[in-house]
């Protein structure tokens, strides 16, 4: 489809494609090929150890059938249970991160000073510190005789054995701590774009804090709220770091999807089964990403 434009471009179509070729090659090699490979393996009984490692067989949909074997899939350590746990984990983390992030952003909206800088720095630090290091910190924080319980004991509260009695709550707490920064920064930036005159008008009209939030701020940050909800869901769904705290235990109570997949594929070396799980996870991620893109498009359209 020749156009007058093309003649005036610096590069011919061919040169452009040539220059893009390495990119396509890399995408193909590191994204498309593994993708196709995982899908292919999910139809085999391939393992890393044992006879199926030397001679994997095509077994059709058996791996998927086993995942969705409704007699046993809700038992501890099985796929269905893991899905349910992941949903708990995602929803609880989402509520925690978004509310806390929004709360901090609102509390320091149009304020400056030492306290704001300190809090923002600390929350952001939690987000960017290396995972191996924070895992150690959190393990001792949650220990029966750790920092958290010492603090609780000092004010006369009970001292639960967090990782044994409330493992899911522990990893949610951890994940909220870890991820709140994203929502906080996003909302803080969004609130910064709200014109002061809007808020002043609201003040003149005698709006209280809640009305100000509901009628002025919330509409202005709706797009960011949707972004935060979907992105945090997507990330939390795939997050692996809680493994460093609980390794999916005790008794598989924190066997969330990423940990489940890791365990099947790399502890039991069931590559076929593990790939089948990965394929399902990919489908779920596609849906989530689709929702995100759709929301983004709609947000743009509305603007």
């Amino acid at each position: 489809m020749p156009s007058t434009h093309q003649d005036s471009t610096i590069l011919t179509r061919r040169t452009g494609l040539t220059l893009l070729a390495p990119t396509f090659a890399f995408i193909g090699l590191f994204l498309l090929f593994p993708f196709v490979w995982v899908v292919a393996i999910s139809f085999t009984d391939r393992t890393l150890l044992g006879a199926a490692a030397a001679d994997p067989q095509f077994i059709g949909l058996d791996n998927f059938r086993q995942l969705f074997d409704f007699d046993s899939w809700m038992r501890s350590g099985e796929f269905g249970r893991s899905l349910v746990l992941t949903v708990y984990f995602v929803i609880a983390s989402l509520i925690g991160q978004v509310f806390l992030g929004l709360g901090i952003a609102l509390a320091f909206h149009r304020r400056k000073g030492f306290l704001r800088e300190t809090i923002f720095t600390l929350v952001t630090l939690a987000w960017i510190l290396p995972e191996a290091a924070i895992a150690f910190t959190w393990t001792s924080f949650l220990d029966p005789n750790g920092t958290l319980n010492t603090a609780l004991g000092a004010v006369g509260l009970t001292r639960p054995d967090w990782l044994l009695d409330a493992p899911m709550a522990s990893i949610v707490m951890f994940n909220v701590w870890r991820g709140t920064a994203f929502s906080m920064l996003l909302f803080s930036a969004a609130l910064g774009n709200v014109r002061p005159s809007y808020l002043e008008t609201a003040d003149v009209l005698g709006a209280n804090a809640w009305q100000r939030f509901r009628d002025v701020l919330l509409p202005m940050i709706k797009a960011q709220l949707a972004t935060a909800l979907i992105l945090v869901t997507l990330w939390t769904f795939n997050v692996f770091t809680p493994f460093l705290l609980t390794q999916g235990g005790p008794a598989f109570q924190t066997d969330i999807m990423a940990i489940h997949t890791y365990r099947i594929a790399f502890r039991y070396f069931e590559f076929g089964q593990g790939s089948a799980i990965a394929v399902i996870v990919m489908l779920i991620n596609f849906v989530l990403a689709g929702v995100y893109l759709f929301a983004l498009k709609r947000g743009e359209g509305a603007r």
């Binding site: 393992t47 890393l48 150890l49 044992g50 006879a51 490692a53 030397a54 086993q66 007699d71 046993s72 038992r75 501890s76 350590g77 995972e131 191996a132 895992a135 054995d161 990782l163 044994l164 692996f240 770091t241 493994f243 460093l244 609980t246 390794q247 235990g249 005790p250 008794a251 598989f252 790399f266 502890r267 039991y268 070396f269």
Partner: protein, 454 residues
């Protein structure tokens, strides 16, 4: 990137360094789950202080320069197995691998390891050491009649107890329960007198094979049944014995608070059980002789402050009642074996075998006995310097049995760990847990190879 991955990359970096092209006359690397001053520190000491210098000198006499390197792996047994599987599947890894015998079938079937004589040639059978290794012990790192490595030795399992705590609770020392009933009654007495959860019988997936060997088998064998029916060649999925063993767990951890379930469920639980025993919060711990000779070795991290030989005793694990144990025994034990295998990807198989056989020469094995007395593979190497260790060998090898050396074992072992976990955590009743176990077995080996109740 998580901590474990970071560790692998570190290990990989070391390994690739170790496996670098051989420019000198010869160079070999050995890997073990051993760390200087840490886990299996005795093995490091033996290899670095005894074997390596002696072998290098020995080769120097023949006019050859050999450089040896030890790769100290600090992760868990499971992580090491994972490391090997990944290394061997892409044709790399150190030349001599510390190896757990029960890994053999899986690695052989995957085509990752090869019999000694295929790696090194017929020179293997010319070794004079074979005269001192019985047929049975050659199978420690073997599968279907082929030998893939040499076993460091075999082991036995028992109940370790704290003499001081038992005496304090009014029990007689030396202590030896004759039945489960007696074991539980004595545990209750300690619990009530000292207000501790005195008994630990390993459970759960977090402890890995330690649960199967030190926990599940020790309970199951006491009921007279094994995981596998060796005559019929089938796995036992449902059996009154399985139920009885699970009920023992239920009694200990749920009904009577005789054991602390925390250690069975959290990661690092096994180390916690060591610490708890050292600190006098656990009075009876079912463990292997490794716990005695390595974990609690005099001067080590886990030795009780008052000294291992002073306050630690051991008792044989009783069957439900005298005579009710596996093969009609009064007491039960299970034996495994670890050792060293050769990496078929080694640049010089003959040299690797030379080192391996040198490690298992009489002189080197005697040197190892001085560092850590235990049951060795060679019949001309006695247990020296540790009368307790000698007594364990004498009294327990006779009643001990072994795991089925079959490729499905590793996965079935994991299913058994999960079964104990489901009972200890209270998720399932013993009956439900057993049924779930039998279902898992069927999905692993097929319904034809599993015995169910009816």
């Amino acid at each position: 990137m998580n901590a474990r991955m970071a560790k692998w990359f570190g290990a990989l970096a070391v390994l690739s360094f170790a496996a670098a092209p051989v420019f000198a006359q010869g160079s070999l690397s050995v890997i073990c789950r051993c760390v200087e001053g840490g886990v299996n520190a005795e093995m490091v000491q033996w290899l670095k202080d005894d074997v390596f210098p002696a072998f290098e000198a020995h080769k120097a006499e023949q006019g050859e320069t050999v450089t040896l390197e030890l790769v100290e792996f600090g992760g868990s047994d499971e992580a090491l197995q994972q490391q090997y599987a990944l290394d061997l599947s892409v044709g790399t890894g150190p030349d001599v691998l510390a190896f757990d015998g029960f890994w053999t079938p899986d690695f052989v079937e995957a085509g990752y390891i090869q019999p000694l004589d295929q790696v090194a040639g017929d020179v293997v059978w010319a070794w004079d050491g074979w005269d001192h290794i019985s047929e049975g012990l050659r199978e420690l790192i073997g599968f279907q009649g082929e030998v893939y490595g040499l076993g460091t030795g075999t082991d036995v399992r028992m109940i370790f107890y704290r003499k001081d705590l038992l005496e304090e609770a009014g029990l007689e020392v030396p202590w030896q329960p004759e039945s489960w009933e007696e074991l539980l009654a004595d545990a209750r007495q300690v619990r009530d007198a000292l207000d501790i959860a005195p008994l630990q019988l390993n459970a759960g997936t977090a402890m890995g094979e330690a649960t199967t060997m030190q926990g599940w088998f020790m309970a199951l064998l006491g009921t007279g049944v094994h995981m596998y029916d060796f005559d019929e060649g089938v796995w036992i999925g449902e059996h009154p014995g399985i139920l009885q063993a699970l009920e023992l767990y239920d009694t200990v951890y749920n009904e009577e608070g005789l054991g602390d379930e925390r250690m069975q469920l959290v990661s690092q639980g096994r180390d916690q059980s060591f610490g708890s025993f050292r600190d006098g919060e656990t009075a009876m711990l079912v463990e292997g002789d490794w716990f005695w000779r390595s974990v609690m070795a005099p001067g080590s991290e886990w030795e009780p402050a008052a000294g291992r030989d002073e306050v630690v005793g051991w008792a044989k694990m009783p069957a439900v009642e005298p005579g009710a144990g596996y093969a009609g025994h009064d007491f039960v034990s299970i034996s495994g074996g670890t050792g060293f295998a050769l990496n078929p990807n080694t640049a010089d198989g003959e040299l690797a075998w030379e080192l391996l056989s040198f490690m298992f020469s009489y002189d080197m094995q005697m040197a190892y006995q001085e560092i850590q007395p235990r049951i060795r593979i060679r019949d001309d190497v006695p247990v020296t310097g540790d009368p307790e260790m000698s007594r364990m060998a004498e009294e327990l090898l006779a009643v001990s049995t072994v795991r089925p050396q079959l490729p499905a074992y590793a996965r079935i072992s994991e299913a058994a760990q999960r079964m104990t976990e489901r009972v200890v955590s209270g998720e399932m009743s013993p009956q439900e847990a057993m049924e779930a176990y039998a279902d898992t077995l069927e999905s692993i080996v097929g319904a034809d190879n599993v015995v169910r109740a009816d």
